[in-house]
């Protein structure tokens, strides 16, 4: 493996995603190529239905492409089966979703601990408590999701995303379900923690202002990579 590819935490080559419909095959994504360097923050923007969430799912190994290659921290996702991809996610990936996706029957603390517990990490509780403190929810550790506000739930989700110190963080419209005040709070928290941990951030959003905070912005339109431009967050990395 080359030094370059080690630096490139995500490598996408000729990625296609085609789905079958009643009217024939439909290309969701076609011929996508780009790389993301370690520690970089990248926003994927595009209109609704442009294919940005599909791209996120392929980058995170939640789904597989129809053609092309995706490398995640050097691992060829396109060659791994679901179990292997899950293992990879457990080791290297964190997620934040628009709809928070907390397990309703677990407390805030247990939700944060969940990825570590699934990975068999025994020191999860300590780490989870620290993370909840960082997101300002140390007083809410034993609350269930239904007892938390939307903003609080997303903060729990962010804490969960950072447990196990993942190398890459995927965020899908993290503030879309929140009011602007809470939205901004969440965005700030996400970027701060990202910086502190040196995590690579892949952020899917509609929000141009939020995208601007990233190092680079990838525009997707009708399944095609339209352009890649620098965001305001770009300080170190150059394409």
């Amino acid at each position: 493996m080359s030094v370059l590819s080690q630096l490139n935490v995500i490598q996408v080559k000729g990625l296609n995603k085609t789905v079958s419909t009643f009217e024939g095959d439909l290309d969701i994504l076609s011929d996508i190529n780009f790389t993301v360097k370690s520690g970089e923050s990248v926003a994927i923007v595009g209109t609704s239905g442009s294919g940005k969430s599909t791209l996120l799912s392929l980058l995170a190994g939640l789904d597989t492409g129809s053609a092309g290659e995706v490398f995640l921290d050097g691992a060829a996702l396109h060659k791994l089966d679901e179990e292997e991809r899950a293992r990879l996610r457990a080791e290297k990936v964190g997620f934040v979703f628009q709809s928070f996706m907390l397990v309703q029957s677990l407390t805030a603390l247990e939700n944060v601990m969940l990825p570590a517990e699934l990975a068999g990490d025994k020191g999860a509780k300590q780490q989870a408590s620290e993370l909840l403190e960082k997101v300002g929810l140390s007083h809410r550790v034993s609350h269930y999701p239904s007892q938390l506000s939307g903003g609080e739930q997303q903060r729990v989700a962010i804490a969960r995303a950072f447990i196990g110190s993942p190398k890459i963080l995927f965020a899908d419209e993290p503030s879309a379900n929140l009011d602007s005040k809470n939205g901004h709070l969440i965005e700030k928290l996400l970027f701060d923690l990202n910086k502190q941990n040196g995590t690579t951030l892949i952020l899917v959003t509609h929000d141009e202002a939020l995208a601007q905070q990233c190092d680079r912005i990838i525009h997707i339109e009708a399944g095609q990579l339209e352009k890649i431009r620098e965001g305001e967050g770009a300080t170190v990395h150059v394409v």
């Binding site: 969430s53 996120l56 799912s57 995170a60 939640l62 789904d63 679901e82 179990e83 899950a86 293992r87 990879l88 996610r89 457990a90 080791e91 990936v93 997620f95 979703f97 709809s99 928070f100 996706m101 907390l102 397990v103 309703q104 029957s105 677990l106 247990e110 969940l114 990825p115 517990e117 699934l118 990975a119 068999g120 990490d121 025994k122 999701p145 239904s146 939307g150 739930q153 969960r160 899908d172």
Partner: protein, 834 residues
């Protein structure tokens, strides 16, 4: 690590109530099966024991020829209890009075089942014993004491022997029902038979051997005995066909079994619904866990552990509640019946645990497998995996599991197929009807914004889900209706056979001059009575001029009524009548023409078949050495199950005046009439009374037991039905919350939403009730004809009862289930939906 996570998740899901429904469904299945099978098994054993009381044994071997001692020895060798009986008539002599008595000689051990009821004085209370008279003593029926002018302890001569009349014989378990010859009863020690010298070559004697013991041993013994049995020997059990009690017993067993099946069916529906719902609710957590790196194996382990724990706990809880329920129910029954119910043994435990485990596994398996297949991508595409919920495999698996369980539980393929077929038709009809109705509703043109149009719109929108709900509701209502109607029908059918006001005593051997005085005695003492029937004894000895060969054709294992069995050449009780007696039906030929100048006879179907007699045949009778011929003009079906006097041969009144006759009648004495009865018998010492009060009470208590058992089953089925309903409505709660939120946001008023919900459930319930009534009535008709072999009929009241109770039942439960959701504010609902 997954184990700890699994436990945490399990305890939380349990606390959040997510597992409550599946937990309750399994527990319900277990407690239903346990309590039902325990109660029915205990009642069945009790009924069997009680029925065994009627023949004083579990089985008996009967013949009019001596029975081989080797039979008894082998039975004893096999560990069976045994006793011997011999029946013969002999003259009793005391105080210069001579009376013909029916002697029943019984060996030590008699009665093997049931008890003998005795009295120590005419005015004393009776008591029960299990035993036989000591050597040199006899127990005589009260009538004999009067006829012979005896006091307790006096000596009486029977044949050549002298015996002490030590007790008044009130009743013995195998006392004859209506044997007009067996009225003056004497119980004698078997070893004293020789002393009487009454049994001589050529004497008319009947022999019986009684056997009691484990069912398996009895079967083995019969296996040994069967090849050695002669034509004139009969193996009889209480379950044998044509024994009135046997028929009732078999019917009640079938009924309870049928009822048990319904409990299982409902529990299975509740289980399938709740298992599916639980798994569906786990789709998001599973997708999330997979996204966060949880392996398939980890997820499988977590949820299989959940299934094991749910099964274990719910089976345990089900057994505990079931145990308490059956204990309470059987206690109540035992108190009500004033009897001890025997323990049910291990069978209900085994059955209910097996059913609990099988249900949990089979109804959860497919939803669980689907759950393991939920793709992690669902975290982004929220509806991904939803299509898995509509699984034909789950349906097929659930349906076949229900079928196998029913078969396993009933052990009867025919019953299972019938019930299953009925239900399958119900489901098909319902699916079609519901789709049709829900789409037709659109054309009704109700004004937008009205509660009714909202209710119909809601029904249409969830056409598929509603079709499933409708099927479940209809199934529950169908089972309830079914049970309710079957109970009413069967009980009334049985009660008609043994009505409350049935005569409880028969008076026989009434001479012609006594008829008037006895009749006026009844009037004076306000005792209701039947007509006085003339009776004379005679034999049928030739058919169309050809003498009968004395054969006793018997089908193996069958007990035919004694008259029918040995009619040819045997002395029969004969009578004449102008009107066809109650409970009889002419099935061939015509009833007597009142103007006929010829001698005509009507014969019971059983006897006609046994003696190969057809309409138009000439039968020759011998009465008091006088021979005469009569034409067979009708064949009758006779309800031998009824506790009414029945005759196998009835003449037209042309026979009257030819022979001396005695009369008999039936009367109903009340509690406290003992002195009146004694007076009557003292005044007419030659008249004999057959007291069938205890027989009636036994039969009525059996009916009451079955009736109570069915009520208990009905209560359980009702609860199961409610649970099915609750699980169904709960399964739709999330969707309802969403609708309520949308409607409220759009400005719908609370009253509109509430009424719409109420109407929706009313419509669903009424529709389900209507189809349930339709299918239940048709299935019932088939079942009555096929299983109970009775003439079925349609029940118009069910057609009203079905839709109305269906609407009420579904509306009340459904509305209250949703009421708490409707009371919450929009914000609270939104948070719950998040």
């Amino acid at each position: 690590m997954w184990f700890k996570l699994a436990l945490t998740l399990f305890s939380r899901e349990l606390r959040r109530g997510e597992l409550t429904i599946i937990f309750a469904a399994i527990a319900l299945a277990v407690l239903t099966v346990f309590s039902l099978s325990s109660v029915t098994e205990r009642i069945r054993l009790n009924i069997e024991q009680k029925s065994a009381d009627f023949i004083a044994a579990d089985r008996r071997l009967a013949s009019n020829h001596p029975l081989d001692d080797a039979f008894i020895l082998e039975a004893q060798k096999q560990g069976l209890q045994t006793a011997r009986q011999m029946f013969f008539d002999s003259m009793l002599f005391a105080n210069d009075e001579l009376v013909l008595g029916s002697i029943k000689a019984v060996s030590e051990g008699y009665p093997l089942r049931g008890v003998v009821t005795l009295k120590d004085g005419f005015d004393q209370a009776d008591y029960e014993v299990q035993g036989v008279p000591q050597r040199g003593e006899v127990w005589l029926s009260e009538g004999l004491f009067y006829s012979l002018g005896l006091a307790l302890g006096d000596e009486v001569e029977i044949g050549a022997g002298v015996f002490r009349a030590s007790k008044i014989l009130v009743n013995e378990p195998d006392a004859p029902f209506f044997s007009l010859a067996g009225n003056k009863r004497v119980l004698l020690n078997y070893t004293d038979i020789g002393t009487t010298q009454a049994v001589q070559p050529g004497s008319r004697v009947f022999y019986r051997m009684l056997f009691a013991g484990e069912e398996a041993v009895l079967t083995d013994y019969y296996g040994w005995l069967k090849p050695q049995m002669r034509d004139n020997q009969r193996w009889q059990g209480i379950k044998d066909r044509q024994s009135p009690l046997g028929e009732n017993l078999e019917r009640s067993e079938r009924f309870l079994l049928l009822a048990g099946l319904f409990g299982i069916m409902l529990a299975a529906v509740a289980m399938a619904v709740s298992a599916k719902r639980y798994c569906e609710r786990q789709y998001d957590p599973v997708a999330m866990m997979k996204t966060l790196g949880g392996s398939r194996a980890t997820i499988r382990n977590i949820f299989l552990l959940h299934l094991c724990m749910v099964t274990m706990f719910s089976v345990a809880i089900g057994l505990a509640i079931g145990y308490v329920l059956q204990a309470v129910a059987t206690d109540y029954l035992a108190n009500f019946m004033d009897t001890q119910l025997p323990q049910a043994g291990f069978k209900p435990w085994l059955l209910s645990i097996t059913i609990g485990v099988v249900c949990a596994l089979m109804f959860s398996l497919k939803p669980l497998l689907d759950l393991f297949d939920i793709p992690p991508l669902r975290v982004l595409r929220r509806n991904l995996g939803d299509k898995l919920a509509v699984s034909r495999v789950h349906m097929a698996l659930s349906v076949s599991t229900i079928f196998v369980l029913m078969w396993f539980f009933s052990g009867e393929l025919k019953t299972t197929l019938l019930l299953f077929g009925g239900t399958a038709i119900l489901m098909l009809v319902l699916f079609g009807v519901s789709r049709l109705l829900f789409s037709a509703g659109r054309k009704l043109g109700l004004s937008p914004g009205s509660s009714w149009s909202l209710a119909i719109a809601t029904l249409q929108k969830r056409a598929n889900a509603n079709a499933v709900q409708l099927i479940s509701f209809a199934l529950a209502i169908k089972l309830m209706l079914f049970l309710f109607v079957l109970k009413n029908d069967l009980i009334s059918d049985w009660q008609m056979q043994v009505p409350e006001d049935a005569p409880n005593a028969f008076l026989i051997n009434i001479s012609e001059p006594e008829v008037t005085s006895i009749e006026s005695f009844f009037v004076q003492n306000n005792i209701s009575h039947a007509d006085f029937y003339p009776v004379f004894r005679g034999r049928a000895n030739a058919l169309n001029g050809e003498k009968f060969a004395r054969t006793a054709s018997k089908q193996e294992g069958e007990e035919q009524d004694e008259d029918a069995a040995e009619g040819a050449g045997r002395e029969l009780n004969l009578t004449w009548m102008t009107k066809l007696p109650e409970g009889n039906e002419v099935i061939e030929g015509t009833w007597f023409d009142p103007n006929s100048e010829k001698l005509e006879v009507s014969i019971s179907k059983g006897m006609a078949e046994g003696m190969n007699i057809k309409i138009g045949d000439r039968l020759t009778f011998l009465v008091n050495e006088q021979s005469f011929e009569a034409n067979v003009t009708s064949l009758r079906s006779v309800d031998w199950g009824s506790l009414k006097p029945n005759f196998v041969m009835i003449f037209n009144p042309k026979v009257a005046g030819k022979f001396p006759v005695t009369y008999f009648t039936a009367a109903q004495f009340s509690e406290g009439d003992e002195k009146t009865v004694s007076q009557l018998l003292r005044d007419h010492p030659t008249v004999s009374m057959i007291d069938i009060k205890s027989r009636l009470e036994q039969a009525q208590s059996m009916i009451a037991q079955v009736s109570l058992a069915i009520s208990f089953v009905l209560a359980i089925v009702l609860t199961s039905g409610a649970l099915v309903l609750i699980s169904q409505v709960q399964a739709s709660l999330a969707e309802r919350m969403q609708e309520i939120v949308i409607l409220r946001t759009l400005g719908a008023r609370g009253r509109l939403i509430k009424l719409a919900t109420l109407y929706e459930f009313l419509l669903l319930g009424a529709l389900a009730g209507f189809v349930a009534a339709l299918v239940s009535d048709v299935t019932l008709l088939i079942i009555q004809r096929e299983l109970f072999e009775v003439e079925g009929k349609l029940h118009p009241y069910v057609w009203v009862l079905g839709p109305s109770t269906g609407a009420l039942f579904v509306a009340v439960i459904g509305y209250f289930m949703v009421a708490s959701t409707m009371r919450q504010n929009t914000q609270g609902l939104l948070r719950k939906l998040a």
